[in-house]
């Protein structure tokens, strides 16, 4: 394994970036759950009965995951969720793109207008996934609350 992957500074930077992105993404969804529920509905992937429940729980999972990454508490669990969630988001976007469904991704501002195409969003999420994999592989445990 290349040493750079476990570099303390790199790992801290990636934690802050990914954690910040997840907290930012969660904020708008928590503020306006109805808009986020609409975003989920447009994917036609989730059963109607569980759309609202998903719209209520998912943003909090993003928020707690982001906070846990930055603080370094419940860290391995947070890294696992980051990678699972990114894979789910990529799969959902790819599925929508494949079916020709025109959607706003609902990534950052729920159903607010976004000029990003589904493919652009998939590329961006792949970028985040690379960061998530770095955290997965990194052995650095510096500057973590759990170690204090």
């Amino acid at each position: 394994m290349p040493r750079i992957i476990s570099n303390d500074y790199l790992t801290l930077l990636v934690r802050l970036v990914l954690g910040g992105v997840f907290i930012y993404a969660a904020y708008y969804k928590i503020v306006d759950p109805a808009q986020f529920a609409k975003s989920i509905w447009y994917y036609h992937l989730v059963l109607g009965q569980v759309i609202n429940i998903s719209a209520l729980i998912l943003p909090w999972l993003e928020l707690l995951t982001g906070v846990a990454l930055i603080l370094g508490a419940y860290y391995r669990g947070a890294v696992l969720w980051v990678n699972i969630l990114l894979l789910v988001f990529i799969a959902a976007l790819a599925s929508a793109a494949y079916r020709g469904i025109s959607i706003d991704c609902g990534c950052f501002k729920a159903a607010a207008a976004s000029s990003d195409s589904a493919m652009q969003t998939i590329y961006r999420d792949f970028g985040y996934l690379v960061l998530g994999i770095q955290l997965w592989l990194s052995r650095s445990r510096r500057w973590m609350l759990a170690n204090l």
Partner: protein, 171 residues
């Protein structure tokens, strides 16, 4: 690791469910979404042109209606509106709007509706293009989130969705 992930999920479930109880924009825990014409896409009239507000299908209209927060505008005359319309709609009969000062008339008819309020304009159905004309005017006057439900009241009723009837009318 699995235990930590489970704890994060558990707290997310608790927070998501509890915070919604006190949320100013709370939503029902179980949504009443209906599978209608999903996948068939919206009805788009031949008279539609590029730059028109987007057209939406009945399943999108139903979803927006049950979620709330979207203003439904019926562009037909008041008699048709009273005979049966989408519940909660307001009536803005396009045929009876004045030719002069149309922007001010629409603004005052809509009350203090912000320009970015999501709005869905409709009329009877496919033979009626009042919704198209009214929605074009809305867009021209600066309303930014206007959609057209071209299936209209007839398609709404055809799918068994609730109608609001203010008057008894002949079939």
């Amino acid at each position: 690791m699995i235990r930590q992930a489970f704890v994060l999920l558990l707290f997310s479930i608790i927070l998501g469910l509890v915070v919604n109880l006190f949320h100013p924009n709370k939503i029902p825990y179980i949504g009443e979404y209906r599978e209608l014409s999903a996948g068939e896409g919206p009805i788009i009239p031949p008279s539609a042109s590029e730059g028109d507000p987007p057209f939406i299908a009945v399943d999108v209209a139903q979803m927006e209606h049950q979620m709330g927060g979207t203003l439904f505008v019926d562009a037909r005359d008041s008699m048709e509106f009273n005979c049966g319309t989408i519940p909660g709609s307001i009536n803005l009969p396009f045929d009876y709007l004045p030719a002069e000062n149309l922007a001010q008339h629409i603004d005052s008819s809509l009350g203090r509706v912000p320009k970015d309020k999501p709005m869905i304009v409709f009329c009877s159905g496919e033979e009626c293009d009042l919704s198209l004309h009214l929605a074009r005017n809305f867009k021209g006057f600066g309303y930014t989130h206007v959609s057209i439900f071209f299936g209209g009241a007839r398609e709404w009723e055809k799918f068994g969705l609730e109608m609001e009837r203010r008057a008894k009318c002949p079939e």
